[in-house]
Symmetry: C2
Subunit: 233 residues, 2 copies
């Protein structure tokens, strides 16, 4: 396994703690609106509806961005929980995906890895969302790449292929870094190197994913610092 020239990073869950960020906004929504609910359950359900919504969206034209999809799936989740929120508070929750705290090791880890590798996001968030999110967390990468640039969503193979093309590299020169096995398996199918970073608190007390089994050449790390250590950055 060669050390990759470029690293592309999943963002939600891998670089930032979506659950803490969205839950913080939900608490603010509750305080402003007085609407009570099991907000942790609402947030987790919303996130569970994320992957199926993207699968449906991949087949649709024109391509629609994550804000639009999240707006729809939030409404479905709120209805299921019998929660009624004013439009501006629903929009505040949709916008909260641009203000998610990085994991404690993310900022410094990205900086270390960037000294020896080209770094980029490769997220289902659109470019405008990612720009806001990376600014919010003061996270530096060399390029903000997104499924938007392939008019699709991960784990569609065209998303990984487009990132490799835009970086001007061969697939085997690029590593996909993610806390999620499905993302890594899809990237590996296109020829990218799979790199798993374990995020034990992604789902709060319910934990995070284990390293995926059956991916040849998988690199596994407990943090971006650990990854930088392994690669001598």
């Amino acid at each position: 396994m060669t050390v990759p020239r470029a690293l592309v990073f999943d963002v939600f869950g891998t670089l930032v703690d979506w659950r803490a960020g969205v839950l913080a906004e939900a608490v603010a929504v509750k305080d402003r609106s007085g609407v009570s609910a099991d907000w942790a359950a609402v947030v987790d359900d919303w996130r569970r509806g994320y992957a199926p919504a993207l699968v449906r969206a991949r087949a649709q034209r024109p391509w629609r961005d994550l804000d639009e999809l999240q707006r729809e799936s939030l409404q479905v989740v709120l209805d299921r929980h019998a929660v009624t929120l004013p439009a501006d508070e629903r929009e505040a929750l949709v916008r909260s995906w641009r203000r998610l705290p990085p994991w404690p090791d993310t900022r410094a880890g990205l900086s270390r890895l960037r000294t020896r590798h080209v770094t980029a996001t490769l997220s289902n968030g659109h470019v405008a969302l990612l720009v806001d999110l990376m600014r919010f967390g003061d996270l530096r990468v060399d390029a903000v790449l997104s499924a938007q640039l392939a008019d699709s969503y991960k784990p569609d193979p065209v998303v990984y292929a487009r990132a490799v093309e835009l970086l001007g590299l061969e697939p085997q020169e690029v590593a996909m870094v993610a806390a999620h096995g499905e993302d890594l398996a899809a990237a590996a199918d296109v020829g990218l190197q799979p790199v798993f970073v374990r995020r034990r608190r992604e789902w709060g007390p319910a934990g995070g994913e284990q390293p995926p089994a059956g991916l040849p050449g998988l690199v596994a790390a407990d943090s971006l610092d650990d990854l930088a250590d392994q690669w001598g950055c």
Copy 2:
């Protein structure tokens, strides 16, 4: 004129000194190959052939990146100057566009402007080239946007429109920052705010462009620091 939320920067000539960078590589080529020529004239001629080559390329499909176009136009210029170079030395010149020194104010100026504005490149260089170039100069922006993402070249209006779309903004919320009137006029036609930065040494002793006339709302600055001063960054 409102202060823009996002600034998109032309790169060659505006952020970096293409002439010094390419000429330095030409001197290295001469030293390695022993081929003598009026290298400053070759470099300037090569750059003069740049805009017409892009106009021709805009009409062609599939879209081809700047490396390919520069490779072709370099050969034309070398033939015109009766200079014969081995393939690897021609390629070294093509690759030199990824190692161009920033102007002295660029790095700090971009940092100051980024505190109050979203910043991005908007160059005819492709993403892979821009990633290398921004890393070479340690230049930080929030997003690397390129004419490549519109499958065209500036000053095609679709390039500016695509950048505005990817930033999730309205055209009037975005300023195009460039040392070249043609770029600014085309951006203004799409509704972006034109911001001229004067680069008095772009063509070496032959100087650089004057601020363009007849552009309503033009902001003109002598450097990125001057621009940051004007906008209170």
